[in-house]
């Protein structure tokens, strides 16, 4: 397996989550969040773009960032399942963001020592962004968890719904293992303790408990997704695909 495929997995995570959070734009619970969520979306899409570009170059077949984003079907998408989960409500959205950022922050910090210069560059920018996402989404997890009865119930529902997608974050595909062996990307399994610490600190303040997953859902890295991803891609790719070869 090649390193570029591991970069593609990472890029897909960022694009799909960036797309999901951008779906809120103009529909947020308050104006401040109408500004904050696009900000987070922009961070994620920006990172995805650099990673796609780099993956395309390493692959060496002349595929551009847009070829990779717009011309692959759901079976070819390699994102983890967590990021494709629908927005549902603000509690689900903030918890999804928090879980992902709590993983990516230590990931990018470790990637500052990557043997790949582009990855180091991405890591330098992204670790700061992820620190902000942890703070912003984590504060919401706390406010909602320790807010009203309704918000606490919604937060518990979100935890119940999303915790089965957590374990997959720490899995390394064959491609990722090769990239890890080459020192290009950090070893995912090594980040578990840091993630647990970040989450347990916030959950303690949010009066939430971390359930143990009876069974973890996996499959994104093999292109076995939930049914929601196909709809996301259909919407995202429709204009691009309706005009083959056009420039935008």
């Amino acid at each position: 397996m090649a390193v570029w495929e591991a970069l593609l997995e990472l890029a897909d995570d960022h694009l799909v989550l960036g797309h999901r959070i951008s779906e809120w734009c103009g529909h947020a619970p308050m104006l401040e969040e109408d500004l904050a969520m696009p900000n987070m979306g922009l961070d994620l899409i920006g990172t995805a773009r650099t990673l796609y570009d780099h993956a395309g170059k390493l692959e060496g077949k002349g595929r551009s960032e847009d070829d990779l984003a717009y011309l692959r079907d759901e079976r070819e998408y390699r994102n983890c399942l967590l990021v494709e989960r629908p927005n549902e409500d603000f509690a689900h959205t903030m918890l999804r963001q928090f879980y992902f950022a709590a993983f990516m922050r230590p990931y990018w910090l470790a990637a500052l020592n990557s043997t790949d210069e582009t990855v180091r560059g991405v890591a330098g920018k992204a670790e700061k962004e992820m620190a902000y996402h942890i703070r912003h989404a984590g504060e919401w997890v706390i406010r909602l968890g320790d807010g009203t009865e309704e918000s606490a119930a919604r937060m518990r529902d979100a935890v119940e719904a999303l915790h089965i997608y957590v374990d997959e974050l720490f899995d390394s595909s064959d491609a990722a293992r090769d990239a890890e062996a080459a020192g290009v990307l950090p070893v995912r399994a090594d980040l578990r303790a840091t993630w647990e610490r970040t989450v347990s600190e916030v959950f303690a303040e949010a009066l939430l408990e971390q359930p143990k997953a009876a069974y973890a859902q996996r499959g994104g890295r093999q292109g076995i997704h939930n049914e929601t991803l196909g709809h996301l891609l259909a919407e995202m790719q429709v204009v691009h695909r309706a005009h083959p070869g056009a420039r935008w």
């Binding site: 619970p29 401040e32 696009p38 960032e65 717009y70 320790d146 309704e150």
Partner: protein, 327 residues
């Protein structure tokens, strides 16, 4: 983005002639009026209404463009559009803050928007039907907004004028970005060019309507001009917009959908065909194609978000109580 089609302002005021003369002297001396300064009630009311409508326009204006964020045809365009719509929200936030200095809260203004009492720019009650509309809105709608907003940077009310300086810089960026989208399409495949032309056909006349009724039919202009809230008349700004935009369309190889449009050497500007004022008033009165959907979307966001706002308040209250208990 916004136009100066201020709808329904009431400049009547009941202060003494001495008070009004003293106020007018400050205006005439180009002094900025600040929130704590004394001001006629009509001036305050006009500004609350205008800044409020402007803020609402930014917020409702997020919807037609937000409609294409998830379908933007390249990652570069997707990021740029997301950033642009975010800017509109930011403009809304400064403007609500500027209006709050006049003694009205953001919540009150929001309630007025959702109940249909407060107006917003009618242009957002037209639908965005193709990707080209993302270019055309930047080019024409933001372009028209800039024509109005540049003079607002010199508005007599300080907080509004200062907010407009930053807003104008961003709008100018949006306008160039929109033009660049349209240019890419105009130089693209025949289908892309047709998409650009169709978009121009649909947005041209509504963009001209953004400047409001002809001067002869504009009820509220005189007082706003005297108070230097407004610096140019509707027709003056519309003319500037047309004169600036026609050569841009020619450069793109697109046709402005007005068979009567022609250069008038004597006035040094373009003459244009008749504007459909029946359509204008219909849309202003809430019968625009997307009017109901826009308010429904804003109302849904507000209602669905109520539990989040309540939770944030409840949590802040708990923190405050804990802090007091610990002291």
């Amino acid at each position: 983005m916004y136009s100066q089609g201020l709808i329904g302002a009431d400049g009547r005021t009941e202060e003494t002639p001495e008070f009004l003369a003293r106020f007018q002297k400050r205006i005439d001396a180009e002094e900025k009026i600040e929130p704590k300064d004394e001001m006629p009630e009509g001036y305050r009311r006009t500004l609350i209404r205008q800044i409020g409508q402007h803020a609402h326009s930014e917020i409702v204006g997020m919807l037609p463009e937000g409609n294409w964020i998830t379908r933007a045809p390249s990652l570069r365009r997707k990021a740029a559009l997301l950033a642009k719509v975010q800017d509109e929200g930011g403009h809304g936030l400064y403007l609500y803050s500027a209006a709050e200095t006049l003694g009205v809260s953001r919540e009150e203004m929001t309630e007025e928007l959702l109940s249909g009492k407060a107006k917003y720019s009618s242009i957002f009650n037209y639908p965005t039907l193709s990707w080209a509309d993302m270019g055309t809105i930047g080019w024409l709608v933001d372009g028209a907004a800039i024509m109005n907003q540049i003079p607002l940077c010199r508005c007599s009310f300080g907080p509004y004028a200062r907010a407009m300086i930053r807003v104008c810089k961003e709008e100018s960026f949006h306008q160039r970005q929109g033009y660049e989208i349209v240019m890419t399409l105009a130089q693209g495949t025949p289908e892309q060019k047709a998409m650009a032309q169709d978009s121009l056909n649909r947005w041209w006349w509504p963009s001209l309507m953004m400047f409001g009724p002809h001067d002869a039919d504009s009820q509220h202009s005189d007082q706003s001009m005297a108070w230097k809230i407004k610096r140019f008349t509707n027709d003056e700004l519309r003319q500037k917009f047309i004169d600036a935009t026609v050569p841009q369309a020619e450069y793109l190889g697109l046709t402005i959908p007005d068979p009567d449009l022609k250069w008038n050497e004597d006035k040094g500007g373009y003459d244009h065909g008749p504007i459909d004022w029946d359509e204008f008033w219909r849309v202003v009165k809430g019968h625009g194609p997307m009017a109901k959907d826009r308010i429904k979307a804003r109302k849904k966001a507000w209602d669905d978000g109520a539990w989040v706002r309540e939770a944030a308040l409840a949590h802040a209250e708990k923190r405050r109580a804990r802090k007091i208990a610990a002291e």
